[in-house]
Structures are given as structure tokens and as C-alpha cells.
Amino acid sequence: MSVSMMVSQLAGGMFVSVQIFVVTLVFSLPLGMIVAFGRMSRNPLLQGIVKVYISIMRGTPLMLQLMVVYFGPYYLFGIKITNSYRLWAALIGFVINYAAYFAEIYRSGIQSMPVGQYEAAKLLGYGKMQTFFKIILPQVIKRILPSVTNEVITLVKDTSLAFTISVLEMFAIAKALASSQTSLIPFAAAGIFYYLFNLVVAVGMDYAEKKLAYYQ
């Protein structure tokens, strides 16, 4: 197999990895906010359910969660698993897992806000929604950015776990190529890919942090 064919196969896997990455962020970042509100809810039932959900997501391996999402429908309901469900299962697994982590980050950020900010907003007449979106959230985002960066960088590497349910992302293809070509070059290429991907992420997050550095 020529080098150019290897590269084009790897590029296909790269596309899938990037897809998992983007979809996971796009859905888990807002979903995490909803989960965080559930976790801080005054309703004990809702709060309890969310607590259990977060603790399972954080307490079990992501690899196992992906397998449960993939095989679960068959074992639980006897639904036949189709090939096209693989990627869906991976996306669902990643989104619900990362939403739990983001929820805890949001919660710690929101709870670290001084009560004086809420009181000042109340006295100035801001409604609940205005207070949250104008006063609280922008400050929370600044506070939690370093933790979010950590999660995002972990996510880049975690996308490779999708290979456990045979999603043909970057890592799965590198592994297949490495054994069929008896060469380590595909692994090296994969390593470089993940590294460069994270470099881009780090630069982006650094830029965001600098943009928010105009106040303390």
C-alpha cells in the first residue's frame, strides 16, 4: 500500500474523530448547563436523580459506557443493532459522559460567585434571567475556562475510545493499518495528529482566556 493511500485512509479516520469531538462539545456544553441546574435544584427527587447520573458517569470507565450505549438496546429491548448505529452510540455516549463533567464544572463556577453580585443585580431590578445571563454567566465562564480547557484536551484523546465499539475513527484505522502493513508509521501519524489537534485546542483556549483577561 502506498503512503498516499495510508494518508487518505488516516484522513478519513481523522474526519470521524473531529466529528465526534465537535458534536460532543456542541451538545454536551449546553446539556451540562441543564444538568448543573438539575444538580442545584431544590427539588430533592430531581437533584437525587442527577446526582446518581453524575456519579455513574464519573465513576465508571467511558469505554464501558460506550459499550452499554451500543449493546444496551439489544440486551435490554432486543432491538437489532445496525451498523450505522455505531457512530450514533459513540456520539450519545460521549455527550452524556461529558455533560456530567461539564455540569460539575458549571456548578462549582456558579456556586463560587459571591452572593453580593446577585444582591446588587436584584436591587438594580434585573430579573432572574437577566441576572444569570448578563451578570453571573459571563463571570462564571471566565472562572471555569481553565477547567473546561482540561476537559476539552482530554476529549481530543478520548475520541480514540470510540474504537472499542468499532467506530472507524483515527485510532481504529491506525491500528488496522499498523497490523496489515506491519508498520508503526500509522501509529506515529496518529500520535502526531492528536498532538497537533490539541495544539490547536490549546491555542484557541489560550486566546479565549486572554480575551477575558481584561478584568479580574
Partner: protein, 255 residues
């Protein structure tokens, strides 16, 4: 006309009464100082008046309109959300630690609520904002962020922010306690300059000379009750034992 009226207000924390049966009213344009030892419930009283704290009993009235009241059984009732929104426009509060919004510039701190909450005209609000900053001696800080200002400057911005909403009554909770002595003077001077704005002010303060000079009426509080109230001349020359023992520490300063 009475701007604000509190009747028989009580408030307890975890069963410990902090405010006991306090009645107090403020007339239009009146300047009232509240003095008293630490822990006597001054902040709690202001927090009940501004509804940051829910009172346990009594009634709270602004401009003749009831904001909160308790019935014969002692159950508290609050005005509807819509009524409260209107009632809240009557007053503002200046905090001891400013509570400016750190991510907003000075100008945005002052203008955002009038624009976003009161839906006033942007041009007009910015004009008012600039006038207020000028009054506060901060015309060159329009685009600064709170973290770039001194404590005294922050407090003056906080005062401008409260004034921008055109309150009829402005509460101050120890507006200079978080400031170095050098910065206290500039803030007190600004507050004094508001006296001719024709808004009522209720000021909790430990600055006795300031309270004596600025107030129409001084209220001395201890252990959750109003021990004595009257003109500064009367209260500062009181023969009430508790008032005297509290003022004793300041007596020297006032002479």
C-alpha cells in the same frame, strides 16, 4: 409624604431575634443616619427595608403602597411580583463592599440597568451617566474597569450606579467601612454633595462627625431596637445611658 414606612418589623435568624418591633419612617428628601454598636442589627434593618432579607413580622410600605405585611396570625404576605417590581424602583442600596460588576466598564455598570431594566433611551441614559460621573469626580474613568480603580473610586461608581435609576430613597450600609481612612473622606464628600439632590438617604455609618453634620435625624440602635432618635443635636447630647456609653468612644472625636 412618607416615602418609606416600616411598622413593627421583626426578624430573627435561627430563632435569635435580631430586629425587634422596629418602626421607622422616612420623609421625602430626609437624611437619616443609623448608628449603633456592631451586631445591633443595622445591616439587617436595611436588608429588610430593601427586601434582600424577608422580614418575619410587621409591614413595609413605600409611597403608601404595601410591599409586605403580616396578618393577625403572623403570616407574612408580599405584594405581587409585578407590584414589587414597581415598588423596588423607589429605592437603591449602596453596599459596604460596592458589589460592582467586574466584567462591566464603569459606564456600563452605571448605564446597563437603566437601559436593560427601565428600558430608557440609550442616549439619555449615557448623558445621565456622564453627568453622574462628573458629579463623582470620575469623568476620566468612564472606560475603566472596576479592578483598575481604588476602593474610594469603586464606591463612588456604586453610588452613581444607584443614582442612575432615579431612586427616591437611597440606603447606604457603611459605605466607607471597607476603605482606607484617606479614601473615606472623598466618599463622604460625595454623599454630602447629594444632599441637595432632593432624594432621601438612610445611612448606616460609624462616622459620627459625618452623621452629625449631614443628618436631619439620627437613630441610635442597640440589640435590635431603636433606643433613641432625634436631631443630631439631641441624640449626640443625649443623657440616655446606652447612647452615652456608645457615643463615649466618639465623644472626643466630636469635640
Amino acid at each position: 409624604m412618607k416615602l418609606m414606612e416600616m411598622n413593627h418589623v421583626g426578624k430573627a435568624f435561627d430563632g435569635v431575634p435580631v430586629i425587634r418591633d422596629i418602626s421607622l419612617s422616612v420623609e421625602e428628601g430626609e437624611i437619616v443616619s443609623i448608628i449603633g454598636p456592631s451586631g445591633s442589627g443595622k445591616s439587617t434593618l436595611l436588608r429588610c427595608a430593601t427586601m434582600l432579607e424577608t422580614m418575619d413580622s410587621g409591614e413595609l410600605i413605600y409611597m403608601g403602597e404595601k410591599a409586605a405585611w403580616s396578618d393577625e396570625t403572623g403570616k407574612m404576605t408580599f405584594a405581587s411580583k409585578r407590584d414589587l417590581k414597581r415598588i423596588c424602583e423607589n429605592y437603591g442600596l449602596v453596599f459596604q463592599n460596592f458589589n460592582l460588576f467586574p466584567h462591566f466598564s464603569v459606564m456600563k455598570n452605571i448605564t446597563d440597568a437603566p437601559i436593560a431594566v427601565q428600558k430608557r433611551d440609550k442616549e439619555e441614559v449615557y448623558r445621565t451617566g456622564r453627568e453622574l460621573l462628573k458629579k463623582m469626580g470620575l469623568e476620566d474613568k468612564e472606560n475603566a474597569y472596576p479592578c483598575q480603580l481604588s476602593g474610594g473610586q469603586c464606591q463612588r461608581v456604586a453610588i452613581a450606579r444607584a443614582l442612575a435609576l432615579n431612586p427616591k430613597i437611597l440606603f447606604f450600609d457603611e459605605p466607607t467601612s471597607a476603605l482606607d481612612p484617606e479614601l473615606t473622606g472623598e466618599v463622604l464628600k460625595v454623599i454630602k454633595s447629594l444632599a441637595d439632590l432632593d432624594i432621601a438617604m438612610v445611612i448606616v455609618t460609624h462616622e459620627m462627625a459625618f452623621a452629625r453634620d449631614i443628618s436631619d435625624r439620627v437613630i441610635f440602635m442597640a440589640d435590635g431596637v431603636i433606643v433613641e432618635e432625634g436631631t443630631p443635636e439631641v441624640v449626640f447630647a443625649s443623657d440616655n445611658e446606652r447612647t452615652r456609653s456608645f457615643l463615649g468612644r466618639y465623644g472626643e472625636m466630636l469635640k
